[in-house]
């Protein structure tokens, strides 16, 4: 009968080999090695598993058992690797899962109601300068309003020359960065519930006040402003409401557990929110590009209005036709 140390010595060469294979696999991006190598790895991993299972029967010293735990964990990590970012999977998320989830998720309706409700109320308050004087001024500040009026005082589409595209691209970057960040914050804060609702409400009220204030004047600002927002408005507002809805879905997981343990419920609800937020990000990007390149460009207003109509129709198609519950999935 050999001693414990001899048994360890016998196995050590194979453990070392497994470690070398692990290091090689860790450095490589894809897990596909040669067939013989993969075969060898699988065999060594199974042996290491067996060693770990028998470790206490073999009376291995604790530090050696710990080593085996680590070795098995490391090999396990290489055998069951992270699923890669497959384009097919994300296409399915955006075009199949997201619309269906959006269609049947009550959170989307609640978030849309909160957002558009506050938006419309705020817009009316800012627009009715006779009934509610000073609402927009108090909310947004006179300086901000003045600079906004100045911005839209001339028809931008005629003010600049042909290289408008390039001149505006800096702003496009800013819109993507700024608006999408707000949207994603709305989503992330959803896990804390209240910050997300506050952020959503704040955006709805501010945007509503801007719309109402700009529409108040009969001058050229109003026309210019409304012309400006036609193209990207539908996309951007919907995207904010959607990302807040996804956040709300996560927050709901805390207390509407449907019989699951609380942490499990949170996880399940978060997974359900993923397609919605991915769709929201896509919408934010579309909105940002529109806002930067189409809205301020010197295209005829007809084109911009057509684009606005087209995106609205596209969204409707996306939500209703793609999202309409079908075969079996509706029961969930």
């Amino acid at each position: 009968m050999s001693s414990v140390s001899d048994r360890i010595e016998q196995r050590r060469a194979q453990w070392a080999e497994l470690e070398v294979l692990c290091s090689q696999l860790e450095l490589r991006r894809s897990a596909t090695g040669s067939a013989s190598q993969t075969d060898r790895f699988a065999k060594l991993y199974r042996d290491a598993c067996a060693d770990l299972a028998l470790a206490s029967a073999y009376q291995l010293p604790p530090n050696r058992q710990q080593y085996l735990h680590r070795l098995v964990a490391r090999a396990h990590n290489q055998l069951y690797r992270a699923q890669r970012w497959q384009p097919g999977y994300w296409m399915e998320v955006v075009f199949v899962n997201a619309p269906q989830q959006i269609y049947r998720d009550p959170c989307v309706r609640v978030a849309a109601l909160v957002f558009y409700g506050l938006f419309i109320i705020s817009m009316l308050l800012a627009w009715q300068s006779n009934l509610f004087p000073g609402f927009a001024e108090a909310l947004l500040g006179q300086d901000a309003l003045d600079s906004m009026r100045e911005m839209y005082s001339d028809d931008q589409s005629e003010a600049r020359g042909g290289s408008f595209f390039a001149a505006r691209s800096g702003m496009a970057g800013f819109y993507i960065q700024h608006n999408t960040t707000i949207g994603l914050q709305c989503f992330a804060y959803g896990i804390l519930i209240i910050p997300s609702l506050l952020l959503l409400g704040d955006n709805a009220i501010q945007l509503g006040a801007v719309f109402g204030y700009m529409a108040r004047d009969s001058g050229s600002q109003a026309t210019n402003f409304l012309k400006f927002v036609t193209a990207h408005g539908p996309l951007e507002l919907t995207a904010i409401a959607l990302s807040a809805a996804a956040g709300m879905r996560i927050g709901l997981g805390w207390f509407y557990t449907q019989g699951l343990p609380r942490s499990e419920s949170l996880r399940v609800n978060t997974m359900r929110s993923l397609p919605i937020v991915v769709a929201a990000v896509v919408l934010f990007f579309l909105a940002a590009f529109t806002e930067a390149f189409i809205s301020p460009s010197n295209m005829p207003y007809l084109v911009k209005a057509a684009w606005g109509l087209m995106t609205s129709a596209g969204l409707t198609f996306y939500f209703v036709v793609l999202g309409f519950p079908r075969g079996g999935t509706s029961a969930a």
Binding site: M1, S3, V4, S5, E19, E26, Y45, R46, C49, L52, S56, Q59, P61, P62, N63, Q66, Y67, H69, R70, V72, A73, R74, H76, N77, Y80, R81, A82, Q83, R84, W85, V93, G141, S163, A166, R168, S169, G170, A172, G173, F174, I176, Q177, T180, T181, L184, Q185, F187, A188, Y189, I191, L192, P195, I250, S263, R267, T270, M271, L274, V277, V278
Partner: protein, 347 residues
């Protein structure tokens, strides 16, 4: 249920694999994760700085019309992507590790022990925005004109994430909880080798340990742990620790009571882990004629009473209490005697 059988208080998570084996992962706490986060942050910021400088240099060299605007566009988009998707993409791509996590030796896995998928990586990194809350306002920044007066300028405190980590056994932040992931220490290599015992007295003493004596599982564990740590201890401390066990062992083996306790445990370790059974022991010349046995003529215990002795010993070893140590206090002279008798020659 035996209260000793419950899981230890260690911050480890047990993971069962499809191979029908369960292994432990050590959970990474904030003191590993914060440096990783900061390293990633430095990496992100310095990358953006490098890109900005490269852009400025390119622009000044070429001078394209509206080049500034195009560069601005690219830069804003880059800032957005780097700050929101750096973690998600690198964790999805490098099997749960960002460069910072790689440096600190930690890895994100899903709570089931399998690797995380792209969706989980995306979610846990998006929700990090909530973990960073609340931000402390920095009023001195508001006095600078360039900063938007209505924009909220603040430094994230990470308090939400930290509290959440303290309250969960797997030390998950909010993003981890929501995505069903955890961060574990990605250990590798083995800590200590089996030190070969060079002291020749050990093998001699080990040969006198009765052949039927089988150390229990807990004693085996203790011996290994003692052996691993004894090199960090002084002679006095070694004896103090060893004395908790040695009186019972000496009695069981029929040894003299003045045997060095540390030496006895070392020989027991040697017997358990290193020695071949029925191995011939070469007795060095200076130890010829030495016997640790109380009565040198007494025959070694027969196999018949082996079972009984083992049971007795297990009972006595299992209930050794720390304050029982003082009960048997070998005199200094007794320790001296044994050390002088068993003094190994310097090679």
């Amino acid at each position: 249920m035996n209260p000793l059988a419950v899981r230890p208080l260690d911050t480890t998570v047990e993971v069962a694999t499809p191979e029908h084996i369960s292994f432990d992962y050590a959970v990474a706490g904030p003191f590993r994760r914060l440096p990783a986060f900061l390293f990633d942050l430095v990496l992100k910021v310095s990358f953006l700085f490098a890109v900005a400088i490269a852009m400025v240099l390119c622009l000044s060299a070429t001078g394209i019309e509206f080049g500034e605007q195009i560069a601005m566009f690219m830069f804003f988009v880059l800032v957005f992507f780097v700050f929101w998707f750096y973690g998600a993409v690198s964790e999805g791509w490098f099997n749960g590790r960002t460069p910072g996590k790689w440096l600190l030796g930690i890895r994100v896995i899903s709570t089931t022990g399998s690797s995380l998928n792209g969706g989980q990586a995306l979610l846990r990194n998006l929700i990090m925005a909530a973990d960073l809350l609340p931000a402390t306002p920095m009023y001195f920044l508001l006095t600078i004109d360039e900063v938007e007066p209505d924009g909220f300028v603040g430094v994230p405190t990470f308090l939400c994430g930290l509290c959440c980590m303290m309250l969960t056994t797997r030390q998950q932040r909010l993003g981890d909880l929501a995505a069903g992931t955890m961060v574990v220490v990605d250990q590798r290599g083995w800590s200590t080798m089996d030190a070969r015992i060079s002291d020749r007295r050990v093998s001699v003493l080990a040969s006198y340990i009765p052949a039927h004596f089988q150390p229990s599982a807990t004693l085996t564990k203790f011996l290994a742990a003692y052996h691993e740590r004894r090199r960090f201890l002084g002679t006095g401390r070694r004896n103090e620790i060893a004395r908790h066990l040695t009186p019972a062992l000496l009695e069981r083996f029929g040894f003299r009571s003045d045997i060095d306790p540390d030496l006895l445990l070392q020989s027991l370790y040697y017997r358990t882990f290193l020695a071949e059974r029925n191995q011939e022991v070469l007795i060095p010349p200076e130890l010829q004629g030495f016997s640790p046995l109380l009565d040198a003529d007494r025959p070694k215990p027969s196999a018949a009473n082996a079972a009984a002795t083992r049971k007795d010993f297990a009972a006595s070893a299992a209930i050794v209490l720390p304050n029982a140590a003082g009960a048997i206090e070998p005199t200094a002279s007794a320790v001296d005697t044994i050390t002088s008798t068993l003094e190994a020659p310097k090679p």
